[in-house]
Amino acid sequence: MSRKVLVLGEVRDVSLRNVSFEAVAAAATVAEGGEVVGVLVGESVSALGLELVKYGADRVVVVEDAKLAQYTADGYAQALLAVIDQEKPEGIVFGHTALGKDLSPKIAARLSSGLISDATAVEVAGGNVVFTRPIYSGKAFEKKIVTDGFIFATIRPNNIPPLEKDESRSGEVTALSVEIKELRAIIQDVVRKAAEGVDLSEAKVVISGGRGVKSAEGFKPLKELADVLGGAVGASRGACDAEYCDYSLQIGQTGKVVTPDLYIACGISGAIQHLAGMSNSKVIVAINKDPEANIFKVADYGIVGDLFEVVPMLTEEFKKLKVHQ
C-alpha cells in the first residue's frame, strides 16, 4: 500500500542535519512507493528544500515566518499542523533529536495518533510497516507497528542509512503561508555549552573519557584524538560527577545515547548505566589499565594500558594514516 509521507527537515546553523536525510530514507520505506514530502519550518529555510529533494524527497513544503526563527513547540506545531491539514499524509517521520522528541508527542496528541519514538530500523514485513526500537536503555529491542491511524515515527540519528545523494533530482519547493499565533513559551537566550564542531549524538566517531582521565586537563589528549578523526568527545557519569567535564558530554542511561561507527572508551570501567548509552555503537575500542574492567566485555578491540600513553600514540598513528589516505 503506497502512502504519502511527510518528513520534517531539521535545520541547524543554516544547514540540514544528517538525521533529516536519514529520516527521508525512513519515510521512503514507509511510503512504499508513495510520495515523500519534505517539510521545512523556519525564518528563511526554503533554499534548503532542494537538498531534501536530492536525498530522496519528491517535493518540499516550506513554512516561513519570523516567529519560527527559533524552535518552539507552539510555533512549529502550528506550522506542521497546517501542512498536515493541507497534505493529509498517511505517515510522518521526524528525527529523534531534541526538537523531534519535544514536538512529536504534541502533534500526536493533537491528532489522537500513535507515535513510535526512537526507531533504529524500519522495514515492510508481513504487510506492516515495522519499526525496531531499543527498550530498557538498549538492553532489549522491540518491533512495533501502528494499529490505528497514520504511521508516525521518530528515528534515532546514525542508524538508518540515508539514500545516496542524487544531484540530478528535481522537485517542487512550495511555500505554505501560516499565521503563527500565540507562543506560550519563548526562548530568551541560548547558552552554548556543547563542544563546538561535531554534535555528539550524530558523530561518527566518539572518544569518551571516564574517571581514569583524572582531571579536566586529562581530556585534552582525547580532544586531540577526536579532532584527528573528526569525532566528538564524550564522558562517563563518573567523569562528569568528578567535574572533569560538563554534563552535556555524559553518555549513558542518564545522559546521551550514541551509536557512532567507532566508540573509543578511555579509562572507563564500563558500568551497566554507561553501556546503556553506547553499547549499540558499531565498533567499540576499550583502553583501560585494569584488564578486568567490564568495558572489555563489550569492546571489539581492547588495549590494556595507561590512556595517557596510548591515546597520544593513537593520535599520531591516525595522523599518519590520514596522510596516506
Binding site: D74, S112, L115, I116, D118
Partner: protein
C-alpha cells in the same frame, strides 16, 4: 500552589533483562521510581516548600506501584493517586497513558505538572508533552532549572548539551533532565509519615473512561535481546605495536576509519 507529578514504576537500572514467553521477565526483578521522575518529585517538593501548596504524585499502572508511590510520599509529597488499569487495559501505549492522565487532571486546576523527560524502560518520552497538549497548557521538556515568580516562569532547558532559557507562565508542564536537582532519600520520619498520607486508587470507570477510549494506537509484535557480542580482541605485545595493530584493524578489518 497545586502541583502534580507524573510517576512511573520501572525496572531498577542494575537489573539484567531476560525474556520469557515473548515478554520481559519481571520475576524477582527490583523496581524503582523512574530515575527522571525522582528529579520531578524532588523539584515538586522544593517548589511547594518555597511557594506553599500541595504535591500530588500520580501513577498509571497496577497495585505494585503503591510501593513507589509510598516512597514518593516518604520523600515529602502530600498525596498519591494510583490509577489502576490492570483489569481494563491489557496493552496500553503512550496514547493510553496520556489520555488517562489528562482525563484525571482536566478538572484539577493544576498550576504545575512535573514528570521525568523519559522512562528508562519504554524510553519514548511522549507522555509528558502529550498530557500538556491534551490539557492545552504549555510545556518545556528536559529542564535543568525552574524559577517561579508569581505565575511567571523562567525555565532552563537542556538541548543536546546547550541551554535554552525559556520564559513562560503557569499553568505549565515540565519534564526533568538530570542536573535539575539532587533527589533526597526518604528519611525515617518521612517513611513513618508516609504511611498515614492519603493514597487513592482509581480505575477507568472513576474517570468515566471506557477501554475503547484509551485503546492503544500501536502494538509491540516482538521483543528480543540484542545478539550477544562475541568477546573482543584484547591486543598484546609492546604498547607501540598494539597501537599500530589497532589502527590497522580499525582501518582494514572493522573498516570504520
Amino acid at each position: 500552589m497545586n502541583i502534580y507529578v507524573l510517576m512511573k514504576r520501572t525496572f531498577d537500572t542494575e537489573e539484567k533483562i531476560s525474556i520469557s514467553a515473548g515478554k520481559i521477565n519481571e520475576d524477582g526483578a527490583e523496581f524503582i521510581i523512574n530515575p527522571y521522575d525522582e528529579y520531578a518529585i524532588e523539584e515538586a517538593i522544593q517548589v511547594r516548600d518555597a511557594n506553599g501548596g500541595e504535591v500530588t504524585v500520580i501513577s498509571v499502572g497496577n497495585e505494585e506501584a503503591e510501593k513507589q508511590l509510598r516512597t514518593a510520599l516518604a520523600m515529602g509529597a502530600d498525596k498519591a493517586v494510583l490509577i489502576n488499569i490492570e483489569d481494563d487495559v491489557e496493552n496500553g501505549d503512550q496514547f493510553t497513558t496520556a489520555k488517562i492522565l489528562a482525563e484525571y487532571l482536566k478538572d484539577k486546576e493544576a498550576d504545575l505538572i512535573l514528570g521525568g523527560n523519559v522512562a528508562i524502560d519504554g524510553g519514548s518520552g511522549q507522555v509528558g508533552p502529550r498530557v500538556a497538549e491534551l490539557l492545552d497548557i504549555p510545556y518545556v521538556t528536559t529542564i535543568t532549572k525552574l524559577e517561579i515568580d508569581g505565575s511567571d516562569c523562567i525555565v532552563t532547558r537542556d538541548v543536546e548539551g546547550d541551554s535554552e532559557i525559556i520564559k513562560t507562565s503557569l499553568p505549565l508542564l515540565v519534564t526533568a533532565q538530570q542536573g535539575l536537582n539532587e533527589p533526597r532519600y526518604p528519611s525515617l520520619p518521612g517513611i513513618m509519615k508516609a504511611k498515614k498520607k492519603p493514597l487513592d486508587e482509581l480505575e477507568l470507570d472513576d474517570l468515566d473512561l471506557d477501554e475503547d477510549d484509551v485503546e492503544a494506537k500501536t502494538k509491540t509484535i516482538e521483543i528480543y535481546l540484542p545478539p550477544k557480542k562475541e568477546a573482543g580482541k584484547v591486543l598484546s605485545g609492546e604498547l607501540a605495536e598494539q597501537v599500530k595493530e589497532l589502527v590497522n584493524l580499525l582501518h582494514t578489518e572493522a573498516k570504520v576509519i
